[in-house]
Symmetry: C2
Subunit: 301 residues, 2 copies
């Protein structure tokens, strides 16, 4: 491989907000089409939604669904690797990883512009709530929080439920990631949407904007969209879209609608990281001597 | 002292958003009047703004200004202790603490309903920026992040710059604090207000709402208001008010204006802590095994 040029300081990123069908091959084909669309619009990093190859299987606990997992690296990272190499872009591909019999993860592969898997992130925080039965499927990650050097410079990825944890954002940003990607599958329970929907969406956006502010880095959240009812049964989940990019001061610079597939692009300028951190130098004053309690479960009793 | 009754689960809190003069006695008198107003409106915890006894001295570095400090406990906590006892309320009193010659802190005293200082918090994160020269005055706190059992149950206080650090919020909430108070002195540089003012205010509100969401607890931010020009010289600082209370899902339930003194009251219901944490059980899934890096300054190089 030839020596890499220095990564750019100003570039476009792409967020593929899409809906999924029950056919993994069709989902992968659609994802590739959308990734290429983002690349055609100038994006050099493109992120797909969480577990984009399938419907959101964790709506139910079904042993059959483990058949949908695959190794990472594996067939899908290979297919996307070819796309990445061809377009000269980085792709963040969230996949259902089969690591061994009975050992599965909710994983994001970072595929660099040479088509190789630069590294994988295994979702560290695993939810378990009605219709989000992830603890049944996914062993919590054992690789920790990570950043990766890519053609687009140093970036990090976390996955969905991680977005509620300031610790994950902090640890990824402290590794020098200029952008935190959050591939996601979050939606409304249809029966709750009218009452709680706006608050839930607002909390989701607010806490992630908070990560951008606390760390002075860019944040990109990439969600599914559309109502998914497994086998056409039950109320299903209405994924709320609203994929967005926040700048290092939490300003939302691009946002997709709630209910439409969208290839969202936004310009990321690393000078803004420098500017915000110079004016609001939070990293300077952290009390690293006094944070040990964070490694405890609870300190109240 | 008689055995304390169990703390209430639903009660009113008061936030005194006020402006200060160059006369400490007048500021204390005004603060007492406003505390009593909040108590008359039913508040059982009332929080004053950061360093409420004086103008915001850290606009400049002046050795003379150290004369404004006092011991904590000391004369002001004694005066406020009488108010607290009389009204049967908790008062959070942020003071310029003289601990020893050459050793000063930016401190918040938590005065319980019996008039006694239940504990003090010494500001852990100390800023230093143009017109906020706090590192000149204040030694960083050495008591860590704390929660206090009061007549209003378990509460925590942090101070101003702490509000940009998710670690401080987390460590206080993990001690069982149901409410995080943030007495504050934050404002606009008048020359910057038109260009950057709205973004700055929005970031300040957003990150604190994020602390409420991440921890499933109430957050109350209490700011100064008004333009302060020390000795009538220089551009001064325009404190932006906007004191607010956010519920455990980050919903702003009460907010003061930008430019008016206000005694803001809001009802805090601890059932909302239970409800939010039961539906969004972030504390359940924290990866305490993987957070050790937070005690490091940087992990990138």
């Amino acid at each position: 491989m030839p020596a890499s040029p220095a990564p750019p300081t100003r570039f476009t990123i792409g967020l593929v907000q899409m809906s999924m069908s029950a056919d993994p091959a069709a989902n992968v084909a659609k994802a590739i089409e959308r990734v290429n669309e983002a690349a055609a619009r100038g994006a050099i990093v493109v992120c797909l939604p969480e577990l984009f190859r399938t419907l959101y299987i964790a709506q139910r606990e079904e042993h059959e669904a483990f058949n949908l997992a695959e190794p990472v690296p594996g067939p899908t990272t290979q297919a996307l690797g070819a796309v990445a190499r061809e377009a000269g872009i980085v792709i963040i591909a969230p996949l259902f990883e089969r690591r061994a019999a009975g050992l599965y993860h909710n994983t994001a592969a970072v595929i660099d512009a040479d088509g190789e898997v630069r590294g994988i992130y295994r979702k560290m925080h695993i939810p378990d709530d009605p219709a989000y039965y992830e603890k049944f499927y996914f062993t919590p990650g054992d690789l920790g929080f990570r950043a990766y050097d890519t053609r687009a410079g140093r970036i990090g990825t976390l996955v969905c439920w991680d977005q509620w944890y300031p610790e994950g954002a902090r640890l990824t940003a402290l590794q020098g990631a200029n952008i935190l990607f959050y591939p996601t599958a979050i939606g409304w329970h249809p029966a709750e949407k009218a009452t709680f929907g706006p608050q839930q969406l607002d909390a989701w956006r607010t806490i992630q904007r908070g990560h951008a502010i606390a760390n002075g880095c860019w944040v990109a959240a990439v969600n599914r969209v559309g109502l998914e009812r497994l086998d056409g049964q039950g109320p299903g989940l209405e994924f709320w879209g609203h994929s967005f990019v926040a700048d290092p001061f939490g300003v939302v610079v691009a946002e997709a609608p709630a209910d439409e597939e969208t290839v969202l692009t936004a310009e990321v300028d690393l000078a803004r990281v420098e500017e915000v951190r110079r004016n609001w130098p939070f990293l300077r004053d952290r009390r690293t001597d006094a944070y040990g309690g964070i490694e405890q479960r609870f300190l109240g009793t």
